[in-house]
Amino acid sequence: MRTLSSWWHMLHLVGIALVMGFSRSTYRQANRNATYRYIYTGTWQILPWFTLLAALLSLVLIRIVIVTALSYGLSRYALEMMVRVLVLELIPLSAALFVALRAGLAFNSAQLPATAQTAAVPDIMQLQQDLVPRVIASAFSVMSLATVSGLIVLLLAYINVYGITPWGLLDYTRTVGRVFEPAVTLGFALKTLLFGLAVAVVPTAAILENARCNVTLSSTLQPGATRLLFVLVLIEVGALAVKYI
């Protein structure tokens, strides 16, 4: 019963965040400043390192895929496979996990006023000042990391497959065009947005709920971490199922 209540509390918070996110009154100067601050801490500070890490890991995976495909005579499928696996699936998931570790799970309920921590109904004004900028910044962060890393991976894949030459650009462009069908592109954008929303809301909801219910943590695991992981996997599996089944 408590689990259901917890999930309901989380969904309620998601609904509130979305409604406020589309409300003009949310984007006041104070909230914009908060949003900028979250964007700075959640994106600007981690973007270079995450891009570097993603490029290194992707380079290893690209080499493995290319060598394996060449040994089996399937090199014409290597590029498409790399784009589908790395750019569409692994990079967004990695970005979401990275943002969750950096920003989502770092949420501290003690920063909120005591009334906001213990209120049965969330304080709208407080959420508008704190939750919505976090949601926006997290969604933007996930999308930024996924976009930049995805572009870097596309560049690395091209260089690994064709070398530093412009003559493979036409074939490469056709392959990218074949992979990024309209439905796939929309699914990619939607999945990234859902990742960002989950990263921002799930840990926050869990922390607020724990503060409201005075739950003493029995472990050092951040509240909502398991649920966040579950939600992320659920979104990923759902996207894969819609795309390939």
Partner: protein, 320 residues
């Protein structure tokens, strides 16, 4: 609910870094540019900005054909499948968009194939044998030729089975090939026998032995013949006698040639005599004519005399 009065004072929030707003805006602008650029690139990659012409390929079976797959010409993609319909005649209609810049590779005589291998995806290929033919007009409908490896397998299996049955028939214990091989083995056995190839060719060693005996006799006969024809050492043989006879015959022939020369001279003289006789015969004719003239004159003279007196006769006939 207020916080406990003895609770520690929360630490002051850290001072925000400088230019946070500018950096965040810069990130927003950069991301917006990246996303817009990528969307435009994907649209370009999918041929949104290209002018295309429609080509319709009709196939019995569109299995393996997917929306977005390429139409290739000489290995280069020149078109993309946009839609697959089921036509009113029950055949699949594959609608392909060909960019205008690549449409010049398609001619009215172009052939389109749909190939499906055991491994890998299906391929649609175009072949233009005569590039001087007129360009393929837009919205053309062409029948696609299928090259299906999977469909060939049952026929291949049936052919292989037939082949194996034939092979089994050939290699059976009572087959012609087996019998022939046995015969070959028997013959090679004879070849390795005391009479070798001769025994194998003649069928048995007995026949070979007879042949060898015959050859021996022929050899003996030839030796005797040689002895008779060419003689023994120090003696004259038939050939020597024949050679002497030929020499003598040559002398006889020379004598005969001389005699014939003399006969020729005699004949020449006889010919001269003959010609003389012919001339004499002509003179005799003339002489005879002259004699006849003289006799006629004599007769006329006698008659003249008889008409004269005392030899006159009354030749008058009086009618009664």
């Amino acid at each position: 609910m207020a916080s406990a009065p003895d609770s520690p004072v929360p630490p002051a929030p850290p001072q925000p870094p400088a230019n946070v707003e500018f950096k965040a805006l810069l990130l927003l602008i950069l991301m917006a540019a990246l996303v817009c650029g990528f969307v435009l690139y994907v649209m370009y990659a999918r041929g949104v900005f290209e002018s295309t012409q429609r080509l319709v390929l009709v196939a019995d079976d569109s299995e393996g054909v997917l929306v977005g797959m390429d139409l290739t010409f000489s290995g280069f993609p020149i078109g993309r499948v946009q839609r697959i319909d089921l036509g009113p005649d029950g055949k699949a209609r594959i609608l392909i968009d060909v960019p205008s810049k690549d449409a010049n590779w398609l001619r009215t005589s172009s052939i389109f194939t749909l190939e499906r291998g055991l491994v890998g995806d299906t391929r649609i290929r175009a072949f233009s044998g005569v590039l001087d033919d007129p360009l393929l007009p837009p919205d053309s409908v062409r029948t696609v030729l299928r090259g299906d490896t999977a469909a060939e397998i049952p026929r291949l299996v049936a052919t292989a089975r037939e082949l194996l049955e034939n092979l089994q028939t050939i290699t059976a214990a009572d087959s012609s090939l087996n019998t022939s091989l046995a015969n070959v083995q028997a013959m090679t056995g004879r070849l390795t026998g005391p009479y070798g190839v001769l025994g194998g060719a003649l069928g048995s060693d007995e026949n070979a032995r007879k042949l060898l005996a015959t050859l021996d006799r022929v050899n003996a006969l030839l030796a005797k013949t040689d002895q008779r024809v060419f003689g023994q050492p120090g003696q004259r043989g038939v050939m020597d006698d024949a050679q002497a006879a030929i020499v003598q015959l040559n002398a006889v022939l020379a004598d005969a040639r001389t005699s014939l020369t003399k006969v020729d001279a005699v004949l020449a003289e006889a010919q001269a005599v003959g010609s003389n006789v012919r001339v004499a015969s002509n003179d005799l004719g003339t002489l005879r004519a002259e004699v006849e003239v003289s006799l006629r004159k004599v007769t006329q003279l006698v008659d003249e005399i008889n008409r004269k007196w005392p030899f006159a006769r009354n030749t008058e006939l009086k009618l009664p």
